[in-house]
Symmetry: C2
Subunit: 549 residues, 2 copies
């Protein structure tokens, strides 16, 4: 411990210590980058001076309406400027922001309202029915609804609720922000999109969000003045801390209410977007864009992708279009991305499958994560031999405070002094981690572990396949067998038998799908395929064949 | 204060909280960038794996020799790899590193040995006589000398002291680093190069050094794998935290024992150096390089310069050579640079004097400094009118803990909750600060404030002038008058009268130098001109003219 013999007078004071908080980034940007464009949404363009003015008004108005430090303010909003503003305006009055997934059902939203105890909820005009239904179903006192009317998307405000712009008008632009005195104070609650049971409320602190902004800048090779397109929903781990990161860099957050190939291409060509994050499905959207939607641009767009490793075929198709794809990995519990597939310059000349294999690595801890390891069931790191499997465990300042009102789940998640991700991986000799499967995605067939990711990778090579997902189907003989669900490219045709044969040429017998279902895949709002729904279908198929799980 | 209603289970624990320390950067780099080159010095090339091995051995060997956590280990070393290693090896055993300016006199070095209470000092072979003389003059118990023999510079070890490589050989490469439990623990002591009185020991903490690495990365527009040349001495604010920053970015620290034009050009051309920092005099060294020393390169080198604003003529000469110059400002008390002249893209088309005027701004707070303002004598910010003068005041996490064993000076420096720099500046309407003078450099002539920087800027436009410094000379009539000391370019000639006339055409009468002395300017080891020596000369000149100050 580095305490000098005499530390008299060397204590913290107002001059040399400030609680870390991402709020500092906007305060500084409003001064240093006052006239620079902070937010873009269609014809709406807000400078950093305006951004500060509006978020200060929001904080003031919330405080006047009774929001006290420590209270929760929720949002049900798409990726529009008001959602970004809430990321500063809510904590600037000392409150905790709870951005709620807009694709959830009313029952779950009601549960979240009640569990977080939101006093106020900011609701997009289109989502008012959801909020109202949720309030009807919830227990406890309901949040007050503020309507956020996205005029750029053609909405006009109803007359039922106070509208966001009127709320801002109530606010004092000279209001003094309530900054954290302790950087461990809570900043945000994000409910995990649990596929079973009630979602858990992941609590973020100011310190972690601040440090995560720095980690992402380094990993994303970001320099001053980035233009970041909001593809990852702001309600999903606060879009991987992007709204807090962009002001630190004097950049522009370009909003995107609906993710379409046209919207992405237009944002790149018209707004000069340099960075965005998204699930691999977003990459497919870009690759499969109609010619009319494609636009020319002459810079390289840095893309973070997460949720699943980008298949080789996807990488091969998207890189020549001007996108550099880096896989990142994380969970709601780690402020989004916490590991990065840090690309080593020595790999530059790799091509095709070989290149894709490197790009598909889960990677190494980001600079502000202390450690990411693969642990066996005893919490001991597995050998770095590209073979032994274990659970990804992480620790450091980018790990959540815990689950709100759930100390038992928190203790479980942090057992042994590491955050246990539940995801299964191996570690290569150079330290790079490679997820073999998200914990619940492993298929055990005849005692053999089948990586659904590997089977999906094989399927994606077939020219007719646009998208696929592989889950376990209960089987009388093997316990489980891989069952594939496939979306075909428009106009393409292939039979179940052909696809199985195609896979068999590339995979071990036990890993080859025993059934293929052609259908549109169910997806979450973040573009993740809802495997739990497919598992239910596979189970039903098995039952109809007389097999019960 | 953002504490939720129920914070049960949301406390800090080993999984979600780690004390911030730059030591984490090397631990991660040794894993993530194991084979990448960390350090270069002539034919010496060390990978990150070797860097970790050697610093671990150093920490272990120091601990075995009785260095306990909280003890001080000093260095008297040039910019060689061993000095960088000490930046990790010393704190890795819990000790505090005290890099001592190698150009100091023995008396001052002895004072520092005694004041800091160093147990061990690592000394370059060439500096052994200085260390020995310092020990003779010091009070208290003397540090044990370890000789650091720079074989790359042609030295061979004497037989008098334990040599550094033998010390490392004693160390255990499996030694567990002593990491800070509290990020406020002390990391380094840097003695200010006080021009009068005894130097003060500025104490850094782990938190501040960690955050300063990030601030510099953003300001320096640095992406992964930078190659940083050590021009700023590692004993000068730990080279602006560069040894701690480079591993975070997986970069290479290229050592430079003696700063010459040839060494700089060779490092850029042969090692691909991308970044370095240095005083404006280093820019002049590059500009005035002999043709034989110049090398071709095809990238832009990002240069941080500090100590004095780069004169227009210097900028005009160096930018076409492939260097982008950014002025930064800071003090030992702020881990080196704390403000940056953040270049706005809108200024790109500015040229000549106009461009130089913008480049000469002191700038805005770096991203991890909370605030930098210009305060009047009551601690109130001066109007942002490019006219009112005040003192630069800063606060935030990049400000020192305080002065070692000097609580009175610490309290004075932090009065009012701000660190008071002593430097005089104005603030432009856009918030950019502009130093008019380091506090002690102002000349008051007939009641008018004369900025010595402004007079020097005028002189630098004369084609014969290579370098100059302007100080106050006591004057019977005006109180003080500007007196210029000038170095001419090799072969150039100009008279005192010609230079005065040249200045008069550009400056107010009271600002025009009344005397010009041609001589070689005295400089500190960091390339700063020693104005206090020139002031002594000017005072003597005045005395000889019958004027006493």
């Amino acid at each position: 411990m580095g305490w000098l013999v005499d530390e008299t007078g060397l204590e913290k004071n107002a001059a040399n210590h400030v609680a870390l908080t991402p709020l500092s980034h906007l305060k500084r940007a409003a001064d240093v980058h006052a006239g620079r464009t902070a937010l873009v949404w269609k014809s709406t363009r807000r400078s950093y001076a305006e951004y500060l003015d509006r978020t200060t008004r929001l904080a003031s108005a919330l405080a006047r309406r009774g929001v006290a430090p420590g209270d929760v303010v929720a949002t049900l909003l798409p990726n529009i400027p008001q959602q970004a503003e809430a990321h500063f305006g809510v904590p600037a009055c000392g409150a905790i922001i709870n951005t709620i997934n807009t694709r959830l059902d009313a029952d779950t939203v009601g549960y979240i309202f009640g569990h977080a105890g939101a006093k106020i909820v900011l609701v997009d005009t289109a989502l008012l029915p959801l909020a109202e239904a949720a309030i009807k179903k919830m227990e406890g006192s309901a949040p007050q609804i503020i309507e956020v009317c996205d005029r750029e998307a053609g909405f006009t405000p109803g007359r039922h609720y106070l509208e966001y712009e009127d709320l801002l008008a109530e606010g004092d632009p000279e209001f003094d922000w309530v900054l954290p005195e302790d950087e461990w104070e809570s900043l945000a609650i994000n409910y995990t999109s649990g596929t079973t049971g009630r979602p858990k409320g992941v609590v973020y602190h100011h310190r972690g969000a601040y440090l995560a902004t720095m980690a992402n800048v380094i990993a994303w090779r970001m320099q001053l003045f980035p233009k970041v397109l909001t593809i990852v929903p702001l309600f999903h781990c606060n879009a991987w801390v992007q709204p807090w990161l962009v002001p630190m860099m004097g950049g522009t957050l370009v909003c995107c209410r609906d993710v379409t190939a046209k919207a992405i291409y237009d944002a790149i060509a018209d707004e000069g977007v340099t960075h965005f994050g998204g699930a691999p499905i977003v990459l497919n959207t870009i690759i499969n864009a109609k010619d009319a939607d494609r636009r020319a641009f002459d810079h390289v767009v840095e893309v973070f992708t997460a949720g699943a490793p980008p298949p080789a075929a996807t990488l091969a198709a998207i890189e020549p279009l001007g996108f550099n794809v880096t896989q990142v990995y994380g969970l709601t519990e780690t402020y989004g991305p916490a590991t990065e597939c840090l690309w080593q310059p020595e790999w530059d000349d790799k091509t095709g499958e070989d290149r894709a294999a490197f790009k598909a690595r889960t990677g190494v801890p980001m600079a502000m994560l202390e450690a990411a390891e693969v642990h066996d069931t005893h919490g001991v790191p597995v050998p770095r031999d590209s073979a032994h499997l274990g659970e990804i465990a992480m620790r450091g300042n980018m790990v959540m405070k815990g689950y709100y009102k759930n100390p038992q789940a928190t203790a479980e998640a942090f057992k042994g002094g590491w955050f246990r991700s539940g995801d299964i991986a191996l570690q290569h000799p150079d330290g790079y981690i490679k997820i073999t499967d998200r914990a619940k995605d492993i298929i055990i067939s005849g005692g053999e572990n089948v990586s659904s990711v590997e089977v999906e990778g094989a399927l994606m090579h077939h020219p007719a396949v646009s998208l696929c997902a592989v889950v376990a189907k209960p089987d009388a003989k093997w316990g489980e067998v891989p069952c594939a669900f496939v979306e075909l490219k428009s106009g393409a045709e292939v039979t179940e038998e052909e696809l199985i044969k195609f896979c068999r040429a590339r995979l071990a017998g036990f890993a080859t799908p025993k059934a293929v279902v052609f259908c549109e895949l169910p997806k979450t709002s973040t573009g993740k395929i809802q495997k739990f729904e497919l598992r239910a279908v596979a189970k039903l198929m098995a039952q109809q064949q007389g097999v019960t799980a």
